[in-house]
Structures are given as structure tokens and as C-alpha cells.
Amino acid sequence: MSVRDGETAKHPEQVEMPFAVVQGEPMVTLPKDLYIPPDALEVFLDAFEGPLDLLLYLIKRQNLDILDIPVAEITAQYMKYVDMMKDLRLELAAEYLVMAAMLAEIKSRMLLPRIHEDEEDEEDPRAELVRRLQEYERYKQAADDIDALPQLNRDVFQTQGAVPDKHIEQAPPEVSLQEILLAFKDVLRRVDMLTHLHVEREALSVRERMSRILDEVEEDQFVEFTSLFSFDEGRLGVVVTFLAVLELLKESLLELVQAEPFGVIHVKARTTAIVDE
């Protein structure tokens, strides 16, 4: 029905009219019966998201199924809108003209008698338009559906309860032993060039014991030398402590006092300034 009802088009040369629009040439005839009052057109066209949207509108307005587009009729209506846009000097988007060309092409193909055998392979000329219209329509609908979903701060609101006793603790960084060793290795690599540092052969337990002894002794008060030793540590523990005391003496960190030969030895942290470096 679409082909028959389509205005005056009977010959291929007449339906080539819209091609002239694409090439920017002036229209030959202007349709007189506009569907929309011209002063409402600008607002009207603003509501469209492009030629597919306009086409969908035209189809829907006539209660037509997309699958059954009367191409000639829709083309004529579409061209009227396009012409109105021109009349109103609206910036005519290229997409509208491209669509006009596509419609015109479909119209012409449907009018042309098929005489060649191989045209059996040719699909319906409207198929591509129908596909695009359907494709567009489904996403147009999807856009509406998404917009209708409950939206944050429009329909639903995230609660923001107060926390009056908020107390934020900063967790201290994690450190692995490997990281410390790697750092130490870097130091060693650097100091290897300055060989005066002899850290090599010291037993760490001696160093640890040095720290502990320093912690135990007071600066202004002597403690008994023997109190530094704990006999339940065994022979090794005693040796370590003794070495630590010797090391501390060497570093001038401890002072050792014996009031009389074979008397009690006392220890205290060193206070008097002695130039030893």
C-alpha cells in the first residue's frame, strides 16, 4: 500500500528529487500542507534526537508498525519537516539530509520494477531502515527505562548517620624482617668502601647484653659488678655478659671501681667527661 499511496511518484526521475537536497541544490517544490504550525516547529524539533527519532515520531503518530512503513508517505512527511527547518533557517543537521537521501533511495528502489533474475538475492529495500529504526527505538526505550530506575539523590538517598564518638586510628605500617635486612645490606654496601667500620665479627648477643647492662646501671649510683651476672644463664651467659662489660668499658660507657685489692667491684654509668675520641 505504501507504494501506491505515495503521492505522485510514478517514475524514477521524480523520486530523485530529495537527492537534490543532499547535494545542496534548492528544492523544486515545497509541500504546502504542514502538520505543525511553523512557530511551534523550533520547539518541536528540539524534542527530537535526530532523524531516526523524527521518523519514529512520524510512524508512531500514524499508529503504524515499524515493520510496515509506507515509505513514500513517511518520506513525504519527513521532507516537509526538513523543508520547514530550512525555511526557519534552522541549522539543518547533516544527519537529517542523509536520512532524506536514504528514504528517497528506498522509495526509488521500491518503485523500480525488478526485471533481472538475480534480484531474487536482493533484500527488501526497507529492511535496512527498519533494522535501524528498531535498533534505535529499543535504545530509546532503554534510555527511558534507565531514567525510570530509582536514582540516588533523586529517588533514594544514602543515609548519613552521625558518629559522635568517631575516633580514627592510623594503623602503623607493616614491616617485615626482610625489609630491615635489605636496608642494612644497603648500609653495608655503602660502608664497605669505608673499611674503618668493623662490625663483622661481633656476636649480637654481646651487643644486646650491652644494652641491657646500660639499662640496669645508674649514672650516679654504683651497682655490684656481680649483680650483672645471672648464673642460671649458664657459662655462655656469663661470658656474654663479661664481654659486654668489657666492650662497654672500652667504649667508655661504664666505669669500674674497686675500692681495695680483692674488694667488691662496683659499676656505674660513666658521667665525667673524658676525651677519648
Binding site: 533484500e123 527488501d124 529492511a127 534510555a143
Partner: protein, 236 residues
């Protein structure tokens, strides 16, 4: 930990967070030695959901976790708390967003092919700034156009927990149907009928393929062939 106690901590956290909290994040609220199992947390969340029946708020799982939110039915009153109403997004923006949501990953050119009009840079920028979309790659064609996909933020904003929750996309009816209707509608077309009675198989294929793919949003990185080569002439 007793569920009653667990529930109170969970609801207190959700209420105060101001954003959705994942099960992992909820677990981290507890000391390691007192950390509840995920299924304990899920049970607590379920119970809270039931507790909130008949209240002005609800628990909702969205993409990045659970949140306590004010029910949509109270929006007319609650909206009055703020002077400004949230603006509506333009149809162009919503259509672009819908195409990215359902057809991701997708290039701007492919969106333009389907919408039939160009997509303004503003729209892409607005969607990116809202953190609803992001670039997930580039199509390996000249110009290497960006491939867009939606984010968790998009799902969170639209109250969805995954893309599967998107409204179902309308179906595309295939060419057989079209042709049947064409035949019925145009019984007297004479010679033209010749070409339509037998439908070439290759014309059906693209549509059938699309119909199969389209209703389910593509979440994989797989690239959907969008347009047939001859489409380009129309849109560019």
C-alpha cells in the same frame, strides 16, 4: 559473635558510611581474631532487611556493596531538604548512556551509528565526570577509538547490583516477520513479490545474530561487530 550484636554493628556502619560497603569492607571493621564469616554477615544483612520492613529506609545491595537508603516512596518529602532538585539528564545523554550500558564496550562512532546523530563531547565528558562510564580500551581500527563501558558507580547510582539487573531490552523482530507482514500488507505488488517470497539467508543472519546478543549486556571484553560495512555510507 552473636548475631544480635553483629547486626547492630553492621547497621551502625552502613548507616554512617555514606556509601555502599562490601562484605569484605564490613569484615574489616572487626579485629582479625573476631572477624565474622561472610555468611554470618550475609545472615545479619538479611535479618536487618527484614527488620526494616515498614520503616522509612531499607537495605539494598548495589554493585559496590550494601547500603542503607531512604525508600523511594519518601523522596517527595525528603527532597525538600535540599533547595535544588537534581536536574534531569537530557535524552541525548540518557540514550548514549543506555547504549554504553547495553552494548559495552562500545566506541563513540558505534553509538553515533545507532543513534543516527553525532554524540557531543560534552555528553561523554559529563558521563565520565559522573564516573558512570570509563574508557576500557581502544578498538583496533584506524584512529584507535576509545571503547567505553559503565562503572560500578553507574550501577550504584541506578540502584542496580549488576548489569543483569538492567531493564530488559526490547526485542528486534526479524526479517521473516517483516516479510510475512509485507506480503500480507502488499498482496498486489505483482512482480515485486518475486523477490520477497524467498528470503536470502545472508540477509537474515545479521539481524538474528543481533537479536541473540542484544538483550544481554556484554560484560566480557569481547567486541561486538556492530555495523555491516555498508552502514558506514549512511552515517558518515
Amino acid at each position: 559473635m552473636e548475631i544480635q550484636y553483629l547486626k547492630q554493628i553492621v547497621e551502625a556502619a552502613l548507616l554512617a558510611a555514606g556509601r555502599p560497603l562490601s562484605l569484605d569492607r564490613l569484615q574489616e571493621l572487626f579485629e582479625e581474631n573476631a572477624r565474622p564469616e561472610r555468611k554470618e554477615l550475609s545472615a545479619a544483612l538479611d535479618e536487618l532487611g527484614a527488620d526494616y520492613a515498614g520503616r522509612g529506609f531499607e537495605i539494598r545491595e548495589v554493585s559496590s556493596g550494601f547500603r542503607v537508603q531512604v525508600r523511594a516512596q519518601y523522596a517527595p518529602w525528603v527532597s525538600r531538604l535540599w533547595e535544588e532538585r537534581p536536574g534531569r539528564y537530557s535524552r541525548a545523554l540518557m540514550e548514549t548512556l543506555a547504549l554504553i550500558a547495553y552494548r559495552q564496550p562500545i566506541t563513540r562512532g558505534e553509538i553515533e551509528d545507532i543513534r543516527g546523530v553525532s554524540v557531543s563531547t560534552n555528553i561523554i565528558r559529563t558521563l565520565s565526570e559522573r564516573e558512570w562510564i570509563r574508557v576500557v580500551g581502544h578498538r583496533d581500527v584506524p584512529g584507535r577509538p576509545s571503547l567505553y563501558a559503565t562503572t560500578r558507580g553507574f550501577l550504584d547510582h541506578f540502584n542496580l547490583s549488576s548489569l543483569d539487573d538492567l531493564p530488559t531490552l526490547a526485542e528486534i523482530r526479524d526479517l521473516d516477520v517483516i516479510n510475512r507482514e509485507l506480503d500480507l500488507a502488499e498482496p498486489g505488488k505483482g512482480t515485486e513479490n518475486r523477490g520477497e517470497s524467498v528470503q536470502p539467508a545472508d540477509a537474515v543472519a545479521p539481524l538474528a545474530e543481533q537479536e541473540h546478543q542484544a538483550p544481554e549486556p556484554q560484560k566480557s571484553a569481547e567486541i561486538i561487530p556492530l555495523s555491516r560495512p555498508d552502514d558506514g555510507a549512511v552515517n558518515d
